[in-house]
Symmetry: C2
Subunit: 268 residues, 2 copies
C-alpha cells in the first residue's frame, strides 16, 4: 500500500499546480495524474455531467491502483467529490476544504472573497466549508468565467485582461475583503493581475499549497508516507491527444514530461 | 421522405444561427437540432476527438430519421464532415463550402480573411474550399479563440473585447482584405464589434445565410422541399440539462422554445 502512487485528476491542465506542490512537499511519492482535456472545461456544465465525469475520472485512477485520490479541480471538488467519495472505499481529498481552512486562518477582518467557475460558485461549497470552521466570517462569492480562457490564451499581461479583472473584482473590493481564494486551479496563472487589481491589502489564497500540505498530513497519520524513493515515477494520462498537453505540463512543472498516455475516459 | 425533418447539429448553441435561417428560408420544413452542450467547445480539441463527437452527433440525428443533415458547426464541418459523410448514406452539408462560395463571390480585390477556432483554422478547410473555386484568391486565416467565451459571456460591447479584437484583427487589416468570413457560428454575436474594428470597407460573411440557401437549393433539386406545412415542428436535443439552453435558444431564434430533450450522446 505504502509503495502505491498518489492519484490526482483535473478537468485539464490546471491540476498540475497541485501536482507541482505534491512533488515539492512529498518528494518520495510516485504520482499518477489524469487530465480530462478531451472534455474540459467542467466549470460551465451541470451538476449531473460533472458527477458523471468525476465518477469516470475516479474509476480510471482506481484502476491505476493508487493509494489516495486528490480531486485537483475546484469544480469537481465543489460539485461531485462528496457524492463520489461516498461511493468509493478509497480516501479522497478535494481542494475546497484545504483552501477554505487556509482562508479562514488568514483573514483578519472576517471578510473572504471566493472566485471560481459558474459550477463552483453555484455549489456554494466554499462558503459552507468556511462557515463550518467559523460561522461569523462573511463570504462573498463570484463567478469569473473569462479568467480560464484568458489564462489559457496567455493574456496574463494584457490591458484587456486588466479591464475584465476590474469589472469582475470591483464588487469584492467594495465589500472590503482582506482574503481572496483563487477557487480555480487556472487562476494562479493570473495571480499578478488579480493582486494588482485587488491591491496589497488583500492576501490571495492558492489552494495547491494548502492541499499538498493536507495530503502530506493525511498520509503521515495513516503511515502511508514514503520516506525514501530514489527515482520517483510520474505518469500522466489525458483524454485527448497528448501533443498539446506536453508543453503546458512542462511549463507548469518546470521539468521534462515524458510519460503522457492517452486514454478513452468514456469507457470508465 | 419528403415529410421527414431536416437534422442539424452543433457543438452547442452557435448552430442555432443556422436553424434561424433555415426556418426563415424554408418555412415548411420540420427541424431536429442537436446541441452538444455537454461536450462543447469542439474548437480547441484534436481531430480525433472532433471526429468521434461528430460521428455520434450524426448517428443520433440518423436515429431521428431526418432526410438531410447539416453540420451547423464550423469546427465539425472543417475537421470531420468529409470523413463522416463518406461513412454514411445520407446527404450532408457543412457550413464551410457555402461560406467559401459566398466569400469568393463577394471579394473585389481577391483578398479574403478567415477567422475561426484553432481546429477550423488548423484544418485549412476554408482556404482549400476557396482555392477550389478560384486559385488566385489570397486567403489569410487566423484563430481567434477568445471570441467564443467573450460572445457567450455577453461581452459584445465592452472595451476589453474591442482591445482583444484589435489585437487579433490587426494583421488582417494590414493585409488589405476586403472580405472576412466569420468562420465560427458564435462570431455573428460579435458582428458589430468586428465590423467596427475592420471598418466599412470590409464585408463580413456569415455562413448561416449561405448555408440555408444551399440547403434549399439541394432539397429543391432532389424534390425534397415541402411546399406546405401549416404547423412546422421544431425539436431540440441537448447533451446536458436543458435549463441553460432554453433562454439562449429563445434569444437566437426570437421565439418560444418548448421541446428541449436531453440525451446521452456518449451512447451513440
Amino acid at each position: 500500500m505504502l509503495q502505491k502512487p498518489i492519484g490526482l485528476f483535473d478537468s485539464g491542465v490546471g491540476g498540475l499546480t497541485v501536482v507541482s506542490e505534491i512533488i515539492r512537499q512529498l518528494p518520495n511519492e510516485d504520482v499518477v495524474y489524469f487530465g480530462d482535456v478531451g472534455r474540459y472545461p467542467y466549470g460551465p456544465r451541470s451538476k449531473d455531467i460533472i458527477l458523471q465525469f468525476t465518477r469516470q475520472d475516479v474509476a480510471f485512477l482506481r484502476e491505476q491502483d493508487v493509494k489516495f485520490i486528490v480531486a485537483a479541480c475546484n469544480t469537481a471538488s465543489a460539485v461531485a467529490l462528496e457524492t463520489v467519495a461516498g461511493e468509493n472505499d478509497i480516501e479522497m481529498l478535494g481542494v475546497i476544504n484545504p483552501g477554505a481552512r487556509a482562508a479562514a486562518e488568514t483573514t483578519q477582518n472576517g471578510k473572504i472573497g471566493i472566485i471560481g467557475t459558474h459550477a463552483t460558485i453555484t455549489s456554494d461549497s466554499y462558503p459552507k466549508a468556511i462557515h463550518h470552521i467559523d460561522s461569523n466570517i462573511k463570504v462573498f462569492s463570484l463567478a469569473c468565467p473569462l479568467f480560464v480562457p484568458l489564462a489559457e490564451e496567455g493574456y496574463q499581461d494584457k490591458e484587456a485582461s486588466y479591464l475584465i479583472a476590474q469589472d469582475y473584482l470591483k464588487i469584492l473590493k467594495e465589500n472590503g475583503i482582506d482574503t481572496l481564494v483563487l477557487g480555480c486551479t487556472h487562476y494562479p496563472l493570473l495571480k499578478k493581475l488579480i493582486q494588482d487589481v485587488m491591491g496589497d491589502g488583500v492576501t490571495l489564497i492558492d489552494s495547491a499549497t494548502a492541499t499538498a500540505r493536507e495530503v502530506k498530513d493525511h498520509l503521515e497519520q495513516k503511515g502511508l508516507l514514503r520516506d525514501t524513493n530514489p527515482d520517483p515515477d510520474y505518469k500522466f494520462y489525458v483524454s485527448d491527444v497528448p501533443d498539446k498537453f506536453a508543453p503546458v505540463a512542462e511549463r507548469f512543472l518546470g521539468r521534462r514530461v515524458d510519460n503522457i498516455i492517452r486514454v478513452d475516459i468514456t469507457k470508465y
